[in-house]
């Protein structure tokens, strides 16, 4: 056969056409032309998909950097959008508090629910229901979750960090359940059997063998859920309301969050407010990217792979 190099495409199929011996005449010019046009179209879609990536990151970095300074990271909002200076510290603190509380609530329940799905329920009716509706819940619009927390909790108790955290926890819960379940399923049967063989009870096996070995994978899922929660805006509009000042109270007082501050800044006509919004966007993007990256690192370090 002639020396066409045997490169492989992702699907494992050959990327070069068949060796010459088999292609005495080759495909007709029309077919070749269609093939080339299709390849060109695919390349065009790649360019079209990459264009927004470039534009988004370029502009956020450019505008955000020029507006970002130490004062921005450490100062709260000036009392008016028109004013120069100040920063989004009130938003940062609010986000940290609400995401922190949401994580503290969602992780234990989510992990335990996943343990149920893998170790106890398996394919029973309850487990199937939980699995299906967890998947469904990941698609619930976040504004609806905010609406629910508003009608159920804000109306009686007022706006506050706890309400925002509740909304975020509801959003995070199904994500953690499903991703933890996937990770737990990958724990090899052998080490579980070894634990039982040593006389361990089921709960001991789960807490001392299964969970620790799936920990990197679970962490991946948790970090991704945290990244998602940090970027949510709509549910917080309806539960935390927003504030220009730093608040650390959990109940009864509206609290700011980074995405809320950015949202307000996006609708202001004043240049100072817009500049702060860009810096805030850069800050939020960095936070989300750091968590996403940590998640990837965690999953690559996992000794269990698919």
């Amino acid at each position: 056969m002639s020396g066409a190099p045997a490169r492989r495409s992702a699907s494992g199929g050959p990327t070069t056409p068949m060796p010459d011996a088999l292609l005495a005449r080759g495909p007709s010019p029309r077919r070749l032309w269609t093939d080339r046009a299709a390849s060109a179209a695919m390349l065009a879609t790649v360019a079209l998909a990459l264009l927004p990536v470039v534009l988004i990151f370029y502009y956020i970095i450019r505008e955000g950097f020029s507006a970002m300074n130490w004062e921005f990271l450490t100062q709260s909002m000036p009392y008016s959008f028109r004013k120069e200076g100040g920063g989004f510290l009130n938003g940062l603190i609010g986000t940290l508090i609400m995401v922190g509380v949401a994580t503290a609530v969602a992780v234990p329940f989510g992990v335990l629910a996943a343990v149920y799905l893998v170790e106890y329920g398996k394919n029973g009716l309850l487990a199937q229901l939980i699995r299906f509706f967890s998947d469904v819940m990941t698609g619930v619009p976040s504004v609806f979750v905010g609406l629910f927390v508003y009608t159920a909790f804000v109306v009686p108790f007022g706006f506050g960090a706890l309400m925002g955290a509740a909304a975020l926890a509801i959003i995070m819960l199904p994500i953690i359940v499903r991703s933890t379940e996937e990770m737990l399923k990958l724990v090899p049967l052998e080490i579980k059997n070894a634990s039982y063989a040593l006389g361990a009870a089921k709960w001991q096996t789960v807490t001392r063998v299964v969970l620790p070995s799936a920990l990197p994978g679970i962490t991946t899922g948790v970090l991704l859920a945290v990244a998602r929660a940090a970027g949510e805006t709509a549910p917080l509009i309806l539960t935390a309301l927003g504030s220009l000042t730093i608040t650390t109270k959990l109940l009864g007082e509206p609290i700011s969050a980074l995405p809320l501050a950015i949202f307000d800044g996006a609708r202001t006509p004043f240049a100072a407010g817009q500049a702060r919004a860009w810096a805030g966007a850069l800050e939020l993007l960095l936070i989300v990217l750091v968590f996403t990256l940590l998640a990837r690192v965690a999953s690559s370090r996992s000794s269990i792979s698919r």
Partner: protein
């Protein structure tokens, strides 16, 4: 696992545990202190007229019409007069201010549309207290636009109504050209911008159009929100200003301070006396002169007959109850409002808002004394 993986796993566990710990501590309510805005600006040498001894945290929501002014007032009051008081004002629209006051989720509301009798009844039933209307300043509703090469634009009442009705659709319409001899107007389409939220500014603007244009009064009418025939919606005065700024060839109505601060040109409107008046501090004050104010201090200032008056002027009110649950908050609110009415005039004039004439100010101060007094 190899050693590095084990180390890293431990690090990740530690980090996650740390995050959970922070979250749990917060959950246990370890935070209760409240930091005033702008950091700790101590005033050396004593500055306060009231001694700076009050401590309270006030929340108010409502109109975006006076928001630039209120935020300046809050900033000065909290920094120089009563550092122990925190005031959080959110501009969400006059309708929102009235609603949140009725639901008693805030300490005071703000609105450029006085509450209607039904709204007052609802609020008083819900709270068991009387609603107080306290006017603070007069402001002009400017008609701002964005046309790159046109700095001066004149419109009369009918043409203004026609633009917002959608019957005049291009900038070089004969009606507009006739009013502006010598100005080159592009043939671009007019993009109308209005409020998408329930707004006192809308109430003032549509109230004026209802008075001067029968066509408007028949088809649209007045109110905090109306069935707009055409246009893009902006959220709040700032949202409308932002949309005008972003879209060339657009026209909309905003409080004067927004147009000035953002650098948007404003239309000179023909007033009842027949002159084309631009919105400004002077023409706003002129609209408030010589008006008879009723006892409950609810009134309208638009379409003033004064010769130098800008035709679309409105007052803006702070809404409060005469009975408040927390006496410290009541005292702080009274202190803030008294200070604003007495000392806040220079800041207001700077931004183009007209301070109240003396007779009205006395009436307003009397109402302030009633806040939280029961």
């Amino acid at each position: 696992m190899n050693r590095s993986t084990r180390h890293f796993s431990r690090l990740l566990v530690a980090a996650t545990a740390g995050a959970l710990l922070v979250g749990s501590l917060a959950l246990l309510g370890c935070g209760g202190d409240v930091v005033p805005a702008g950091g700790s600006a101590t005033t050396v040498g004593g500055s306060a007229t009231t001694g700076g001894l009050l401590t309270a945290s006030l929340t108010g929501v409502g109109a975006t019409f006076p928001e630039p002014l209120y935020l300046e007032w809050v900033g000065e009051f909290v920094t120089n007069v009563e550092p122990g008081v925190k005031v959080n004002y959110q501009g969400i629209g006059s309708g929102g201010g009235i609603q949140q006051l009725t639901q008693m989720t805030v300490d005071f509301g703000a609105s450029d549309a006085p509450m209607s009798d039904e709204e007052i009844a609802a609020a008083e039933t819900a709270s068991g207290a009387t609603v107080l209307h306290i006017p603070t300043v007069f402001g002009a509703v400017a008609v701002a636009y964005s046309l790159p090469d046109v700095t001066d634009l004149k419109l009369d009442q009918e043409t203004l109504a026609d633009v917002f009705l959608g019957t005049v659709t291009t900038w070089d319409d004969p009606a507009i050209v006739a009013l502006n001899p010598g100005v080159t107007l592009p043939s671009a389409a007019i993009s109308v911008v209005h409020r998408s939220d329930s707004s006192g500014t809308t109430s003032i603007f549509t109230g004026y159009l209802t008075k001067v244009s029968p066509a408007w009064s028949d088809t649209v009418g007045a109110g905090k929100d109306v069935r707009w025939p055409v246009g893009i919606g902006g959220q709040g005065n700032d949202g409308v200003a932002a949309v005008i700024q972003q879209q060339e060839g657009s026209i909309g109505y905003v409080e004067l301070a927004y147009a000035t601060e953002v650098g948007l040109p404003t239309v000179s409107l023909r007033n009842q006396a027949g002159s084309f008046i631009a919105p400004s501090l002077a023409s706003t004050s002129a609209a408030g002169a010589g008006v008879d104010f009723p006892a409950d201090l609810r009134f309208s200032l638009s379409d003033s007959p004064a010769s130098e008056a800008y035709p679309i002027v409105g007052a803006t009110w702070i809404l409060a109850y005469d009975s408040m649950a927390d006496p410290a908050k009541a005292e702080a609110l009274r202190a803030f409002l008294t200070w604003a009415l007495n000392e806040g005039a220079p800041v207001a004039e700077d931004l183009g808002y007209a301070p109240l004439p003396d007779d009205l100010r006395a009436l307003a101060l009397a109402k302030v004394d009633e806040v939280g007094s029961r």
